[in-house]
């Protein structure tokens, strides 16, 4: 059977998206594969389809719990029930239940911290694995923007699992990071499928403004005029909330906000309202967009500067999935780089916190409990944020067998200092790009080791772009939703023919 026939049979699609077929063919011929595919190209299909043709279980490591849940749901919606996610969302009882019946699952998603539990690794080791998939593989690399200490163990884990056929997936990784992934996972004879990071249907513009007052006015102006729907990215949750309120108050559009501080059920509602066009604009932090499939986003605006070029590309990449012309606009005002710099420092534990932690655990011979985790109280007492804690816990776990306790404090500090330097370099590189006089697109491609082959039109502000081509076609503004009574609303959702009969 041809691959296309299988695609139709299992997924109902007639043709592959960029890169998918190459990845699948490579895996089916038994080659380890590194795939860099832009977000929204259906990465999961790359292991789902070969999964059906190979005998054994597919183990997928994924760092983001919410993304994992989304993927599992998506599998189920398309009729694949033999799928499960092993992560901290499960209660102990549910976890044991899953582990007892692990043989019944074809696709097993797992978070890296679960993999470090010897008991779980032991169970997985007994399974016949057809494939070992590492999602968001750039998290392996210390050069990557999203390094996770948990991930650096994956090479070891892979070998403990008997070096199964491996697929490493990422959306944005520089050449250096890609090499790091291959080396860290211990892959030899790797097929690399690297599609371009370029998105020719997204024009890239940067506007420099005096201060945040001007930015705010500019956003109101842009949102008023641009073809919607659109997303505006902020670094601060508060700023996102305020802008959404302002857009509604000024009756510019139906706007909502979205960030990681909201409870999960509210986040789902906002996301779904946006997908169903009940909201035209979302003011969001970087928490928004993972696993979202909305094809017709026409603009992405950045109110704040992201932490690195990789995030910027991922965020603007949410526009124009339908292939139609879209625009990305970043608003910069002098001093904007201070916020990401502050944030970079806040993401890592401070020297004082590290000293405190090691002083507190100095007398304890058994620092790590049976789950190989530090005691939770230490997190609170030391004032660690979730991100800081995950980082230091992962780091200590990674070092505890190779580095003696007395030296660990020093090693951890050195490591943290190194991370901070990397993060600062990333911010600096983004700033360089903002300041550069050359074509925005060309510069971005060069960063990922690509050359710009074809000139696209419209390209960027440096090449000359008329923003008004992205404005909505004359004033067809949406009228406000008409006032329905609660009874009519209920009838509408629960009775197909309405109350008319």
């Amino acid at each position: 059977m041809e691959l296309e026939d299988l695609l139709l049979k299992h997924f109902g699609f007639h043709s592959f998206k960029t890169g998918q077929k190459e990845v699948i063919s490579s895996l089916l011929s038994g080659c380890h594969t590194l795939a860099m595919l832009p977000t929204g190209t259906g990465k999961s299909l790359c292991y789902q389809l070969p999964g059906y043709m190979l005998d054994g279980h597919v183990l997928i490591v994924s760092p983001l719990l919410s993304l994992m849940q989304d993927q599992v749901e998506q599998f189920k919606r398309f009729g694949e029930k033999r799928v499960v996610a092993l992560n901290s969302f499960l209660t102990l009882e549910e976890k044991n239940q899953v582990l007892r019946h692990i043989n019944e699952y074809k696709f097993i998603f797992i978070s890296p911290e679960m993999l470090r539990v010897p008991y779980i690794l032991g169970i997985l080791g007994k399974l016949k694995l057809s494939m070992f998939v590492v999602d968001e593989a750039h998290c392996i690399s210390q050069w990557g923007f999203d390094f996770r200490p948990d991930y650096s163990k994956l090479g070891e884990i892979r070998s403990a699992l008997g070096n199964p056929l491996t697929l490493a997936l990422t959306a944005t990784a520089t050449y250096q990071v890609r090499e790091d992934i291959i080396q860290s996972l211990g892959l030899s004879n790797v097929t690399k499928v690297e599609s371009s990071v370029d998105r020719p249907n997204i024009a890239i513009c940067i506007e420099e403004l005096a201060d945040y007052h001007e930015k705010e006015a500019r956003i109101l102006d842009l949102v008023q005029q641009l073809e919607k729907p659109g997303v505006i990215y902020f670094t601060s949750k508060k700023a996102a909330e305020q802008m959404a309120a302002l857009l509604v108050e000024k009756e510019i559009c139906q706007a909502g906000y979205y960030h990681g501080g909201m409870d999960p059920s509210t986040r789902v509602l906002i996301q779904e309202q946006f997908i169903h066009n009940q909201l035209e604009v979302i003011c969001a932090t970087s928490a928004f967009g993972m696993g979202i499939n909305k094809e017709n986003i026409r603009f992405v605006i950045h109110y704040h500067m992201p932490m690195q070029i990789e995030s910027y590309l991922q965020e603007i990449g949410r526009a124009g999935r339908d292939g139609n012309q879209s625009v990305a606009i970043l608003l910069y005002s002098p001093g904007d780089e201070l916020l990401p710099l502050q944030l970079a420092e806040g993401e890592l534990p401070s020297e004082q916190q590290i000293d405190w932690l090691f002083a507190s655990i100095a007398g304890e011979p058994r620092v790590l409990n049976e789950q190989l985790r530090l005691h939770k109280d230490l997190k609170e007492q030391g004032g660690f944020t979730d991100v800081q804690w995950r980082f230091i816990e992962g780091l200590i776990h990674q070092m505890h067998r190779t580095v003696p306790m007395q030296q660990m404090n020093k090693s951890v500090k050195e490591f943290v200092a190194g991370r901070l330097t990397t993060k600062k370099t990333n911010i600096f590189q983004l700033k360089q790009w903002l300041d550069s006089a050359s074509c925005r697109r060309e510069h971005l491609l060069n960063y990922f080791g690509e050359m710009l082959s074809d000139q696209v039109q419209p390209c960027c502000d440096r090449c000359g772009v008329q923003l008004n081509q992205f404005f909505k076609v004359s004033g067809h503004f949406k009228s406000k939703p008409s006032d329905v009574t609660w009874n009519q609303y209920l009838a509408k959702i629960l009775i197909n023919s309405g109350l008319s009969e």
């Binding site: 849940q69 749901e73 919606r77 549910e94 909502g256 999960p264 059920s265 509210t266 789902v268 509602l269 906002i270 779904e272 309202q273 169903h276 009940q278 009574t485 609660w486 009874n487 609303y489 209920l490 009838a491 509408k492 959702i493 629960l494 009775i495 197909n496």
Partner: protein
């Protein structure tokens, strides 16, 4: 309407200056401490227990400051307040939300809401024949609950939507002072996503906490109505099934209770559990409040019990210190235990 203010005024009136304002904060937040649980019983404030879980200390302080400024309450010093004249007249001229029943329902309010939203979403998609959609609830327990309901209710998939519609409208009709909009516009169906709490509050022109209060009041009304008229709501009845009631004891207290049943003394339990004796005493107070057959004679002899109760009655107070001054040979623990066991009936 000043809903939150009204409830705070009512609470202040009930505690008669015998507790600080934060005892009310803890009560509304539903703090699982012996003191708060005891207060809810002693001052007959059980309906308001845990009805404002989302409230923050900061928000509460701001509310109190505003009430002070608007001459609704008087500052008595030491974080104690009483209703002012204006506050009292407000209490007389306005009705408290009448269906709210925090004590009995605060633990099932969230789960019932999750069930309702998912049931409506599933029924709506069955009605429109659409199988591909994002469920708005992630909780797997709720998903299995819906599956079970569909299986055991014996309602055909085509009828589900209309049945649910009929029951919901029946449930809401004749509801005194209830506005079903606070619930209904938050429901999600086929190609129609429900509003968030914040959006619904805005649509109905309510402050966030007042909205939360109305939402809770309406949901508690539904629960009570379904409970009282089970046979009228065959489908909705599933919403409130399968919850174990009387889970009023804190988890830690339950462990103590099990040890007590095995014959251990409070001191032994304390050393066994590596807890302070005072913590175990807190648990005993919880038992006195929640477990009808729990006898306190072992800890306070009968004579002392009557003395404490009499003093409390004569002095018209539940303040431990006042009682302790009169009944010198009783410990604070003994006074709390007696008030917990008999305080409510002697006062109401």
């Amino acid at each position: 309407m000043l809903h939150i203010e009204l409830i705070i005024l009512h609470c202040l009136q009930s505690i008669k200056n015998e507790r600080t304002i934060y005892s009310i904060f803890h009560l509304l937040k539903g703090k699982k401490s012996s003191q708060t649980i005891q207060d809810a019983h002693l001052f007959s404030l059980k309906p308001f227990f845990g009805i404002l879980e989302p409230m923050t200390r900061e928000l509460f302080d701001r509310k109190i400051a505003a009430m002070l400024q608007n001459n609704l309450i008087i500052d008595c010093g030491g974080q104690r307040f009483v209703p002012a004249l204006l506050g009292e007249s407000l209490l007389q001229n306005n009705r408290l939300p009448i269906f709210i029943n925090g004590w009995d329902y605060h633990q099932i309010t969230g789960p019932v809401w999750e069930r309702l939203t998912l049931l409506v979403q599933v029924a709506s998609h069955l009605e429109y024949g659409e199988t591909n959609y994002i469920p708005i609830q992630k909780n797997q327990a709720v998903h299995s609950w819906v599956k079970t309901v569909i299986k055991v209710s014996n309602i055909s998939k085509r009828e589900m939507g209309r049945k649910l519609y009929n029951e919901l409208t029946k449930c809401f009709c004749n509801a005194d002072g209830i506005n079903p909009s606070v619930i209904v516009f938050r429901l999600t169906g086929f190609q129609q996503i429900g509003l968030t709490a914040e959006q619904a509050a805005k649509k109905l022109d309510l402050e966030a906490l007042d909205y939360h209060l109305q939402f809770t009041n309406t949901l508690h009304y539904m629960i009570q109505n379904i409970k009282d008229n089970n046979e009228q709501f065959p489908l909705l009845a599933y919403l409130i099934q399968g919850f174990t009631e009387n889970e009023e004891l804190t988890l830690s207290a339950r462990k103590t209770w099990n040890l007590l049943l095995q014959g251990y003394s409070p001191e032994m339990i304390a050393s066994l559990r590596r807890l302070r004796v005072s913590t175990i005493e807190d648990h005993l107070v919880e038992f006195a409040l929640n477990i009808n057959h729990f006898q306190i004679d072992e800890y306070v002899d009968n004579g002392l019990q009557s003395k404490i109760l009499d003093t409390s009655r004569q002095q018209g107070t539940k303040q431990l210190k006042v009682i302790k001054d009169k009944v010198k040979n009783a410990s604070y623990f003994q006074i709390r235990l007696v008030l917990a066991k008999y305080g409510e009936q002697s006062w109401n």
